[in-house]
């Protein structure tokens, strides 16, 4: 079981992703702003983050500066585009284009892979 930090400026997305994460047996903290995310970062085993935050134009760079906690990008861009971006930031990516059922199927597996001992 891992503790997941979920960062998105949409309360709806946070609710949905938290449901997926806790349904997979993990605990979660949600953050709608970068300020809240930074405060919650130390306790997280993994971060799931959107790319567009009103108070942080480059969350991937900031997360990299904060530490080495694994990162999954969850954004509304095509998967291929996100995979390229993820590769340059040593992260993984899941596209919101997969829809809630697709994300519910894919995200737990990626989390499990990144948090395996």
């Amino acid at each position: 079981m891992a503790h997941i930090l979920i960062i998105d400026d949409s309360a709806l997305i946070l609710q949905m992703v938290e449901m997926v994460v806790t349904g997979a047996g993990h605990t979660a903290t949600t953050a709608e702003t970068w300020t809240d995310a930074e405060a919650a970062y130390p306790a997280a085993d993994l971060v799931v983050t959107d790319l567009n935050l009103p108070d942080q134009p480059d969350p991937l760079a900031r997360l990299h500066a904060l530490g080495t906690t694994p990162v999954i990008i969850l954004s509304g861009r095509p998967q291929a585009e996100l995979d390229q971006l993820a590769a340059t930031h040593h992260a993984r990516a899941v596209s919101k284009d997969a829809g809630f059922p697709g994300i519910a199927a894919a995200l737990p597996d990626v989390i499990a892979e990144l948090t395996a001992d």
């Binding site: 709806l12 949905m16 959107d50 509304g76 997969a98 809630f100």
Partner: protein, 468 residues
């Protein structure tokens, strides 16, 4: 073999088939089969009624282990939450988009945020048309931020209108007009990849100003609005009727140059409206274009037989086709005589100290027949009101020099101005501010961010109508 033994044999075979599921299930299957073997070999070891109960329990456990997990569907609560969140985003977008077209940095960032959020939420809920439209609008703003294109303002405004309509009914997933504007915006982006990109507007019709007037007839307001937006390129007055009966009343009350009508409408459909126009000596020469969602040869034939000049499928009105066909018909259409009472626009004073917000409000109001003037604070507004006649004032609350409440009180205290309706449009959302404003004489108190552009226009229209 007894019935009970047959049942136990069958259970045993099913448990053996589950052994491959996982180690734990395999161990369970070994244990259960050992129990079943005992029961079959020594039925007297367990009373008969208990054997049946054990078999029932093992059968229920087997069903639970073998069941497929239910398909994960999106709970309806999330769709409702998306609609609520998207409406707030659209309210913000209605204010930021105007500033974005002027390439103001804050407005660009806010527009990107709003569209990205709508796109993401729609994608999660598999509302693919909404996601696609929000996504391409976001891409256009991103390209605009890079200075890579001439802003396709009207398609973006149509996109905004289509997003509003689709979010109000998100599970209606086949929307020809929405697909049309999405394709048009994709076309603008695709043009950016061409090395010889020409940044002249896509509609290259030579649009001379015409002294004419168009009537758009559609029972769906967002469609009428969208058609009106397309035709606003012609820079001539456009009126809207919501059914054929209302259209006929308008046509008999004042002159028009052309009618664009939906076909399927209540009270009087497009075909009967066309026939009524042709049967009336005063209207018989009026050009009529029928717009419909259906692309069927028999419908087209019926429309032309009723007397329509042209018949266009709604899915094909983007990209300049509707505009070019209307412009062609208007060349030989009746000219509307200009009379002061039909041409006078209502004059509205918008009082707002933040320029981008003032511009956004003016942009929203430009959809109506209004002349808009801006004042940057209460004192400036009062000076303007003393020299120029206005039909309505829209004012912010917090402003330097004179706030909106003091301005309202000054208007009410002036005999020449006291009857002008005053709308307060403010970010302050407390009962105390509302009471102070209403006590000062404000006619309507609206909160920014909670008022979508359509509602503001409705409030303005209703207040002006009550003054007639």
């Amino acid at each position: 073999m007894t019935t009970q033994n047959l049942r136990l044999e069958h259970l045993s075979a099913r448990y053996r088939s589950l052994s491959a599921e996982s180690d734990a299930v395999a161990q369970l299957a070994v244990g259960v089969n050992a129990l079943l073997d005992e029961l079959r070999a020594a039925p007297q070891s367990l009373a008969a009624h208990r054997q049946a109960a054990v078999a029932d329990a093992l059968s229920a456990l087997l069903d639970a282990l073998a069941a497929e997990p239910p398909a994960l569907t999106v709970p309806q609560q999330f769709v409702e939450a998306f609609r609520a969140e998207a409406r707030k985003r659209l309210a913000g977008l209605s204010l930021s988009l105007t500033g974005a077209f002027s390439s103001e940095p804050d407005s660009l960032e806010q527009s990107i945020q709003h569209l990205h959020a709508i796109r993401g939420g729609a994608a999660m809920l598999q509302l693919l048309q909404i996601a696609d439209l929000a996504g391409v609008m976001e891409d256009v703003v991103l390209a605009g931020r890079r200075g890579a294109l001439v802003w396709p303002v009207r398609p973006m405004l149509r996109g905004f209108a289509m997003l509003q309509a689709a979010i109000d009914d998100p599970e209606s997933d086949d929307n020809a007009l929405l697909r049309d504007v999405t394709d048009e915006l994709h076309g603008h982006l695709a043009a950016l990849t061409q090395p010889d990109f020409d940044d002249t507007p896509i509609t290259n019709i030579n649009l001379e100003p015409l002294q004419q007037r168009i009537l758009v007839v559609d029972d769906v307001e967002t469609i009428a609005h969208s058609v009106g937006l397309i035709l606003s390129e012609l820079d001539i007055p456009i009126d809207v009727a919501h059914d054929g009966a209302e259209a006929l009343d308008l046509l008999r009350a004042q002159p028009y140059s052309l009618v664009l009508s939906d076909v399927a409408m209540p009270h009087l459909d497009g075909l009967d409206l066309t026939r009524a126009i042709r049967a009336d000596d005063a209207l018989s020469d009026l050009p009529v274009i029928l717009l419909t969602a259906l692309n069927r040869a028999d419908e087209r034939a019926a429309g032309l037989q009723a007397g329509a000049n042209d018949y266009i499928v709604k899915g094909s009105i983007g990209g300049g086709e509707l505009l070019s066909r209307v412009h062609e018909l208007l060349k030989t259409a009746p000219v509307v005589p200009s009379t002061p009472d039909t041409r006078r626009f209502r004059r509205i004073l918008v009082v707002e100290d933040i320029e981008t917000i003032a511009a956004s409000i003016a942009f929203v109001l430009s959809d109506g027949p209004y002349e808009i003037q801006l004042a940057h604070d209460g004192a400036d507004a009062l000076d303007t009101l003393r020299t120029t006649l206005f039909d309505l004032v829209i004012t912010d609350l917090d402003m330097p020099n004179m706030n909106g409440i003091d301005l309202t009180a000054a208007i009410r205290a002036n005999d020449a101005l006291c009857d002008i309706p005053v709308v307060m449009l403010t970010a302050r959302n407390t009962d105390e501010h509302r009471k102070r404003a209403l006590d000062a004489g404000v006619s309507k108190f609206l909160v920014k961010g909670e008022v979508a552009s359509g509602k503001l226009l409705d409030e303005v229209r209703n207040l002006l109508h009550s003054q007639d």
